[in-house]
Subunit: 276 residues, 2 copies
């Protein structure tokens, strides 16, 4: 009796096959989003189907031996039924459990259904589950509506700062020079051609966050302002979850590329929360 | 001897045929953008070609009688050569003059190449031409990078406020209720489905600015905060142009749907500039 676990984040889709002892027998990982807010429901369904079937094929597992499927995905909190239906159509004999990505990330980080999780990867969100089992989340509205403090947001704030500096509305610090060098452009006006190119995707913008983080570590004032604002937004997400769950002194974990390693963003956020 | 004038804004493409006295013989207007930052260069070229040929056809004018073409378009400031080449290929016998949309808007508003123009339509920008003929502009970076204080920006800020209110990070004022009613959704979570639908376009988001403007007129505190911030951003654009042109007491005109009529945004911006 086998189980399949699916973790669909803003930048990576993982499908794993597990035995009865929950040992991973095979892991299939593709560096692509499966977030319907970014790529649409039709494309998400295609990627999901294809990845599940390919994982079974790679592992030499027949689909009839899969009894349980657990899937946590970004951008589906409002469309869990849709996700369930897609999975039912691929694995009709299995028991299907679906959840938003932040819920599985919280349980994964704390090892139980309890505590607070602040997430900053391609997108951003906070969520919590209190002692009564109540769940609340904040953020996760996608790249146009929110995702403040996420990799995408930091990358875009950096590009906005470059645009303002070109207009004479912001200081031209080292971050300005480094951004143009990184994009291999000489004139800030070319930012427009770069950013609105049809092939541009959110992941490429989110990857630029590393430039802001590194510049902030070296004391760049514009980068520091961006990181400070990002940490403040993440703290607001955290606080709104704490308040709504009446959570006193909750255990807090971090997830996502920008908080799971030692970054200036993580340091600042920990300070604000009072974790150091 | 005839001339063609082309005005491509964020939401409307106009092609006019003029006689030697610059009287408009025929005007072709389509409610679509021709901004390559929004729809790409290939699609812009297609729309432009088609509109010019259709205008000539409607007016019963043979293309060989067109001697001058003047085109001002959004999103082409960095790609004026591209625009010139497209027009040369359609009307090879004509003399072609190309300019960014804000430059023709400034000349149109002041009736001469002198003064400052602040523009807020689907996008936003400021530009100016001083007594020495120097031109400077600020803003106009498109919907992802800037356009603060524009219709698109106001509409999106409204949706962001609704998202924050759903998270408990913002007050639920009348604007919250009216936005959901306007979008015909009952749950704020459905905002995501609405906003990221493949058919959604910037013009539809920009049109929602009228809700914020009307709520602000009725004293809605969240709407007022958005309008105040938008006016402040437009003032920053204005100031950066004034400074770079060393402009003392410049004549100022407004353009675009959000500033060309009496709106709370226009009133606030005029106050900041000291025009009343």
């Amino acid at each position: 009796m086998l189980s399949i676990g699916i973790d669909g984040g803003g930048s990576t889709l993982r499908v794993g096959i597990f035995n009865e002892n929950l040992e991973c027998l095979h892991l299939h990982e593709i560096p692509e989003t499966a977030n319907p807010s970014s790529i649409g429901f039709a494309e998400t369904e295609k990627r999901l189907r294809f990845s599940v079937l390919q994982t079974l094929d790679e592992a030499g597992v027949d689909f009839s031996s899969v009894r349980h499927v657990g899937a946590g995905m970004a951008g589906v909190a409002q469309n869990l039924d849709w996700l369930r239906n897609v999975l039912v159509s691929v694995l009709p004999q299995a028991e299907i459990t679906v959840a938003p990505d932040y819920e599985i990330a919280l349980i994964g980080a704390h090892g139980k259904r309890y505590g607070i999780l602040v997430l900053s990867g391609t997108g951003s969100a906070a969520c919590g589950i209190n002692a009564s089992g109540e769940l609340a989340h904040s953020g996760g509205w996608g790249y146009l509506l929110g995702d403040e403090g996420s990799g995408y947001w930091l990358g875009l704030e950096m590009l906005k700062a470059v645009a303002r500096a070109a207009d004479g509305r912001e200081k031209k610090t080292k971050l300005f020079v480094e951004t143009l060098a990184n994009l291999k452009i000489s004139d800030p006006d070319e930012l427009i051609t770069w950013l609105y190119a049809p092939e541009r995707n959110n992941r490429q913008i989110a990857k630029m966050a590393s430039l802001v983080l590194s510049a902030a570590s070296h004391g760049d004032s514009v980068a520091n302002k961006i990181i400070e604002s990002g940490a403040d937004h993440l703290y607001q997400l955290y606080m709104s979850v704490v308040k709504r769950l009446n959570f006193a002194d909750p255990p807090v974990m971090f997830a996502g590329g920008l908080l799971s390693s030692e970054t200036p963003l993580r340091r600042l956020l920990m300070q604000k929360i009072g974790l150091n």
